[in-house]
């Protein structure tokens, strides 16, 4: 199966799961402060941050309380980078994970939970109380973008493309400003975000790059897997792995060999609600 087909298969599987199983937002604010795929601590996130107005974190669906870490260390002392967290096992092979909880507030006495049961308090931050929320598909060994399973956000804002760069060891061209570039091999870098409500730094849901009408990169943040010990959004495309973001947080869309003549680049960025931004560039290659 080709990478693209596998990616579509995973997306289809995730969407199929969505059709069968829906989740409630885990807090009273149905809005993601950061989305699945957002750069976080040097890596892309496999969950999302959700604010809580009343500070409470609730179960997204009924299930079994499978794991409660009411502290920041596992047995034996191994540290938890999710802080205090809870995992709830649901039917349909899904597990929801609630991290960044305030130690001492977790509902350790529960064994089964109903939808909207209180699990604990979200940890306070400069941006208010925030919890980390992730959805894991046990049957497919894959993290699933929670937005697929949650009620839609109220989001009418288009994503923002802040920059598209052509970069190599010698020079960097910012498309839009540069209309003429030298021939050679370049890495395509994209600085894009999906602002929504008060959350400015979210990853978009999909990114697509066309060069001279041919698709050179396409990625949808539907799910993430780590079959060989390396996490990827697309199991057949190493570009969607840990190096997907560079040190500045730009998405690395791959390399291009530009020969003398004209080149047409088309970049499309969309969020999960379907709001999209598309930019086209015509370049003279010398």
């Amino acid at each position: 199966m080709s990478g693209k087909r596998r990616s579509f298969a995973l997306a289809a599987a995730a969407l199929a799961a969505a059709a069968m199983f829906a989740l409630e937002w885990p807090t009273d604010r149905p809005e993601a402060a950061s989305t699945f795929g957002t750069l976080s601590a040097g890596r892309f996130s496999t969950g999302m941050l959700v604010g809580s107005g009343d500070g409470l974190v609730r179960t997204a669906a009924a299930g079994d309380l499978a794991f409660v870490l009411d502290g920041d260390r596992l047995a034996g002392g191994f540290p938890s980078t999710l802080g205090a967290f809870v995992a709830v096992a649901h039917p349909q092979d899904l597990t929801t994970v609630y991290g960044r909880l305030k130690p001492g507030t977790l509902s350790t006495y529960l064994t089964t939970v109903r939808e909207r049961d209180i699990l604990g308090m979200a940890l306070a931050s400069d941006a208010g109380a925030l919890t980390w929320f992730g959805v894991f598909d046990r049957a497919k060994d894959a993290w699933v973008n929670p937005l697929i399973l949650l009620a839609p956000e109220k989001d009418a804002k288009d994503p923002v493309i802040r920059a598209v760069l052509l970069s190599n060891d010698e020079r960097v061209y910012r498309l839009g400003e540069a209309r003429t570039v030298r021939q050679g091999r370049y890495e395509v870098l994209l600085d894009a975000t999906d602002p929504s409500g008060t959350a400015p730094g979210r990853a978009p849901y999909s990114v697509r790059l066309l060069v001279d009408g041919i698709e050179r990169f396409a990625c949808r943040f539907d799910s993430a897997v780590a079959p060989e010990g390396v996490r990827l959004f697309d199991p057949k495309d190493a570009r969607t792995g840990p190096s997907f973001y560079d040190g500045r947080g730009y998405m690395r869309l791959g390399t291009l060999d530009l020969a003398r003549g004209a080149a047409y680049l088309n970049v499309t960025v969309a969020d999960f609600e379907g709001n999209a931004r598309e930019l086209a560039y015509q370049l003279a290659v010398e």
Binding site: R43, A66, F67, L69, D72, A75, F85, V97, G134, R138
Partner: protein
């Protein structure tokens, strides 16, 4: 002989019988186990390491050996003679080994590793939370989704992403083992290659709650599953790991569970419903020590055949000296929930309530 004449004779016979029993039948008393104080150091005198410049009395100093500690507001290293080599105030969290201290916060992008006298030794430019085990340095990656190992000079040795969040982790000199929320166990060799990826199963909800490893004997022990919960022992035979034994438990834990394997390979210690279970690996027989069992450590003195078991609850700790499997030789209360105890030669090195101390094990 009249009845009256028999009474004195009976009294004399009874007295002789009592005396005979006292001298002939009485057994020799077992010598009593004692922990004799060797030295103490109060960390609340701290402010600078200069406060501890004077060596404490006790065993001869050994410049080469440092014992790492993490206690209350402090972390650092102390020599076996009680001389503090380095003490620092913990502004955030810290990871401590005998050679190094790493202060860290979950939001930091990099780590500065301090040596045993508190001087910067090397840096790790990666986000995550550090953890030392058996002299090895691991880094828990963001969102509990990965683990990396670094060398003693800060060089990345390997990194591994997991498909689900880590719910248990253990490591010794030869093997690192991660347990995941989806019930998978992943064993990782020193070179980062995956030696084992398996899901013990056997329960309605699969999850790994506790892990212990003994790479020398090729053993991995796990507390896993919910409805029903299991103890599982995996043993490496012919290059592959197989379930050597298992048993269903009466517990229904849904949180991390402490489990340890003894250095001599004879016992597994784990949290039970009513105390700490000591399981003999040879025949699967079990005994239970009536102690708070949620959070415990063991440290062993193989020369004396003793196990120092530190059992902690919310406010205090109890140091129990055990001759395995279940003969308790002594119990000592240690104030403070962050107390620790560790065997070092013929000493027991303890910390509690911002006070370090060493005791010499002996008999009275």
């Amino acid at each position: 002989m009249t009845e009256e004449a028999r009474k004195p004779l009976a009294a004399v016979a009874l007295a002789l019988a009592v005396l005979s029993y006292y001298f002939i039948a009485a057994g020799r008393l077992e010598p009593e186990f004692v922990l004799a104080p060797a030295w103490t150091a109060n960390l609340d005198r701290a402010g600078s390491a200069d406060a501890f410049a004077t060596p404490a009395t006790g065993a001869a100093a050994s410049e080469a050996v440092a014992l790492g500690f993490e206690l209350g507001r402090f972390h650092g290293q102390v020599g076996p003679d009680g001389r503090i080599l380095h003490v620092g105030l913990r502004d955030f969290r810290s990871a401590v080994s005998d050679g190094y201290v790493i202060p860290y916060d979950f939001d930091s992008d990099g780590l500065t590793v301090l040596d045993s006298v508190g001087a910067p030794s090397y840096e790790i430019k990666a986000p995550g939370a550090p953890w030392f085990s058996s002299g090895r340095l691991f880094l828990a990656g963001p969102e509990m989704g990965s683990v990396s190992e670094y060398s003693g000079s800060g060089e990345l040795l390997w990194s591994l992403d997991f498909g689900a969040p880590i719910s248990a982790f253990a490591a010794d000199e030869g093997l690192a083992v991660a347990g995941l929320v989806d019930g998978t166990i992943v064993a990782i060799e020193r070179d980062g290659s995956v030696a084992l990826r398996t899901a013990p199963g056997g329960s309605r909800i699969e999850i790994i709650l506790g892990l212990a490893v003994d790479s020398e004997r090729g053993r991995i022990a796990a507390i896993c599953g919910i409805d029903r919960q299991r103890f599982v022992l995996l043993t490496r035979t012919g290059g592959a790991y197989r379930v050597a034994s298992h048993s269903y438990l009466s517990t229904d834990f849904r949180r991390p569970v402490s489990i340890r394997l003894s250095a001599d390979g004879r016992h597994a210690w784990y949290e039970g419903a009513t105390g700490i279970v000591v399981r003999q690996l040879e025949d699967g027989s079990e005994s239970t020590l009536d102690l708070p069992s949620r959070d415990f450590t063991i440290s062993e003195d193989p020369s004396r055949g003793l196990t120092y078991l530190l059992s902690r609850d919310a406010a205090s700790a109890t140091l129990v000296v055990v001759s395995p499997p279940d003969r308790v030789l002594g119990r000592y209360a240690l104030p403070g929930a962050d107390a620790f105890a560790r065997a070092y030669g013929d000493l027991v090195f303890t910390g509690s309530s911002e006070r370090l101390a060493a005791f010499a094990a002996g008999e009275d």
